[in-house]
């Protein structure tokens, strides 16, 4: 859709050497009961970039994403081994409080899931539970700022008290993004945020992701290789629970090292 994005990615320096990683996973192995979903993944995610996780269905990319803010804790049978360092701390340390972690590493889900409350309350909820606004006016300011950052303010500023579930699909997803960035996370995880949206809404969210990169580190799972190419600066390809290849996006898409990556991006597997 937007050729310039491609050009822009070329200017990003080599991922592994020069940009300090904000998240680094070491030997992460995830299993559901007896089934190994992710096998010994080691991956460094650079800060203030968009990193795409691509791969065929069931390859473990969503599992990996959900490990990064411990959403997998919700699944009883899920076991995670290895080490994930976020902001210098191992998040699977038993002393880590997931509440603080998740405020630091926010998440946007595949299906837009606004709370069945007003638009304002949707964004304000995170600020409230983390005591991030001292006064009502500060709360309102922060809600407005988040909605503006998510590019939703102009569309909803006159109906903040309407229910969030009444918005269109694309608006709901942007509301979810506003809700997530309201608590000022360092990292935003996105699990196929556009999979249920039409091309116009998708384009808006892609633009938004590109804007958000300035302030946040974004990790996005996507099934669309075009999307990965358009919006991300680094790409990781997963296959059968393994991290096959990780590098700057343009390298993965133009000169993949692994034949599996090549087969996938050219459409032969997946």
């Amino acid at each position: 859709m937007q050729e310039p994005v491609y050009v822009e990615t070329l200017s990003v320096k080599s991922v592994h050497d020069e940009v300090k990683p904000v998240i680094s996973a070491k030997d992460v192995t995830v299993s559901y009961a007896d089934k190994v979903a992710l096998n010994s993944v080691t991956l460094n995610v650079p800060a203030n970039q968009v990193t795409s996780l691509i791969g065929p269905s069931g390859c473990g990319k969503t599992t990996f994403l959900r490990c990064l803010n411990r959403m997998n804790d919700l699944i009883d049978i899920c076991r995670v081994r290895g080490e994930i360092i976020v902001a210098g701390q191992n998040i699977y340390d038993p002393a880590v409080d997931v509440v603080t972690l998740r405020a630091h590493v926010g998440m946007v889900f595949q299906k837009a899931n606004p709370f069945p409350k007003s638009i304002f309350e949707n964004v304000a909820y995170g600020l409230r539970i983390h005591n991030m606004a001292a006064s009502k006016s500060e709360l309102e300011d922060r809600v407005e700022l988040s909605l503006k950052r998510a590019g939703l303010w102009d569309e909803v500023s006159d109906r903040l008290n309407d229910t969030g579930t009444g918005l269109s699909g694309g608006q709901q997803q942007r509301l979810c993004i506003a809700r997530t960035i309201a608590v000022e996370p360092q990292v935003v995880l996105m699990d196929e945020p556009c999979s249920a949206l039409d091309p116009v809404a998708t384009a808006r969210i892609e633009e938004l992701i590109d804007d958000l990169r300035e302030k946040f580190t974004i990790i996005i799972v996507t099934h669309s290789m075009h999307q990965a190419a358009r919006i991300s600066q680094s790409t990781a390809f997963f296959h059968m629970g393994e991290l096959v290849e990780h590098g700057p996006t343009e390298k993965i898409f133009t000169t993949p090292k692994d034949t599996r990556t090549e087969s996938y991006i050219t459409g032969r597997i997946g």
Binding site: L74, D76, V99, L101, R102, F109, N113, F115, P116, T165
Partner: protein, 419 residues
């Protein structure tokens, strides 16, 4: 070659016929069910409506100052005054047995009615005044039936002499049937014409309040814990199986439990709505837990994920988002459970709420009975006039059940949110 879309092949005809057949069977089944329901409710209502009217008779009573000591209004022989006025009306009766029959026309309550009137207005003493008294149950039934008396005297409860007396009252317009407010304002009585439903109603209300206060919070908290917090393992499976089993335990077993534990071990007051409510709460708990868990399970997991993903703790996610969405379902489950508890008789029999209670209970520790138990007691009474009281009580009970279920539906409509 494409077949014509309008052509009816034999196979297609069979399919159409099967569908039509099934639809008609379904309609028939519904019609049958409605038919039986209508017959049942109509027959009960037809008999029960009689209890709403009661026959009164007017007597001219001379409030003899010699009989009534104005300083001790309470202790005068008011029964005697009523009897004297009856004797005056029919001076030709002299035999004792006949006199007793004559007195029997009027309810045994007449003396009390007179006493209350005199105590309210002592100025009446010394005058002859017309008072309306309740008639006895047999006379009441005869008058309300409006059928001509059976030719065979042996076949009816009113003798020819009594008939003549009743006619005498009727000819002067001294017999009236009036709305029976007493049915709703007084407690039980051995005399059908005096019996009312209020003590049973209040007993039921107290029991339900205790039952709700115990089972609702405990039930929904248990459901929330089991559904949202507890780990899934062998123990939680065991608990789940046992809750489901408890929901199917015959209610009389809970009554026995109440008798053995609450009354005999803890010494709580017998026949009290407190104990009744606790027993009903035990019985209702599994229903509420099961309904609440289903309501919680119906909340989409995406709502939990959204809250948790924002850094809400599990308890915040549950109480800010999941529980409010599940609340209508929980309330519905609770009301359905309450409605079941309202209609429950067996466990209350075991803990002594089957007693004959005249006074309206004022607290949860006073002896009381409950609506279904009252129905059981009246249905068991030999006096024929209790039949219509029984039916009227059933109608009252059904009305409350319908109201509660209606409340459940309205509540669900009101609080239900789409997501």
């Amino acid at each position: 070659m494409t077949k014509s879309f309008t052509e009816m092949t034999p196979a297609l005809k069979r399919r159409h016929a099967a569908e039509t057949r099934f639809q008609w069977l379904g309609r028939l089944a519904i019609l049958l069910a409605i038919g039986f329901l209508v017959i049942m409710v109509a027959s009960i209502a037809f008999i029960g409506v009689g209890a709403l009217r009661q026959t009164h008779v007017a007597l001219d009573v001379f409030l003899d100052p010699a009989e009534i000591d104005s300083s001790k209004l309470k202790n005068a022989d008011y029964d005697g005054l009523v009897k004297a006025s009856l004797r005056k009306k029919f001076p030709e009766i002299t035999k004792r047995r006949e006199k007793r029959k004559l007195y029997g026309l009027v309810s045994s309550d007449a003396g009390y009615t007179l006493r209350e009137r005199v105590r309210n207005t002592p100025d009446l003493i010394g005058q002859t005044q017309k008072f309306w008294f309740l008639m006895s149950d047999d006379v009441d039934l005869f008058i309300k039936s409006a059928a001509p008396p059976d030719a065979n005297e042996q076949g009816r409860r009113i003798s020819n002499k009594e008939l003549a007396w009743i006619d005498a009252f009727r000819s002067t317009g001294d017999i009236e049937t009036r709305f029976n407010s007493r049915f709703f304002t007084s407690g039980d009585s051995r005399e059908p014409e005096l019996a009312g439903i209020l003590s049973a109603l209040v007993g039921s209300a107290f029991s339900l309040v205790v039952c709700f206060a115990l089972s609702f919070p405990v039930g929904i908290l248990a459901a929330i814990y089991l559904e949202e917090f507890s780990p899934r393992n062998r123990w939680s499976d065991l608990i789940e199986v046992n809750i489901n089993n408890l929901a199917a335990v015959p209610s009389i077993v809970f009554g026995l439990l109440g008798l053995a534990v609450l009354l005999n071990t803890f010494g709580l007051p017998r026949s009290s709505p407190l104990v009744g409510g606790i027993v009903l709460a035990l019985m209702t708990l599994p229903t509420i837990i099961i309904a609440s868990r289903a309501a919680l399970r119906a909340v989409p997991p995406s709502i939990r994920e959204a809250a948790l993903g924002l850094g809400a703790s599990r308890i915040q996610a549950t109480f800010h988002h999941v529980a409010p969405l599940a609340l209508p379902g929980m309330l519905t489950g609770a009301i359905v459970g309450m409605a079941r508890a309202l209609g429950e008789t067996a466990p209350l029999l075991m803990i002594g709420m089957v007693a004959f209670i005249v006074d309206v209970p004022k607290s949860v520790v006073e002896p009381a009975t409950a609506l279904p138990v009252q129905i059981f007691l009246w249905a068991d009474s030999p006096e024929r006039a209790f039949l219509e009281k029984t039916c009227a009580a059933i109608i009252v009970l059904l009305a409350f059940l319908v109201l509660m279920n209606l409340a459940a539906i309205l509540m669900r409509r009101k609080f239900e949110r789409r997501f």
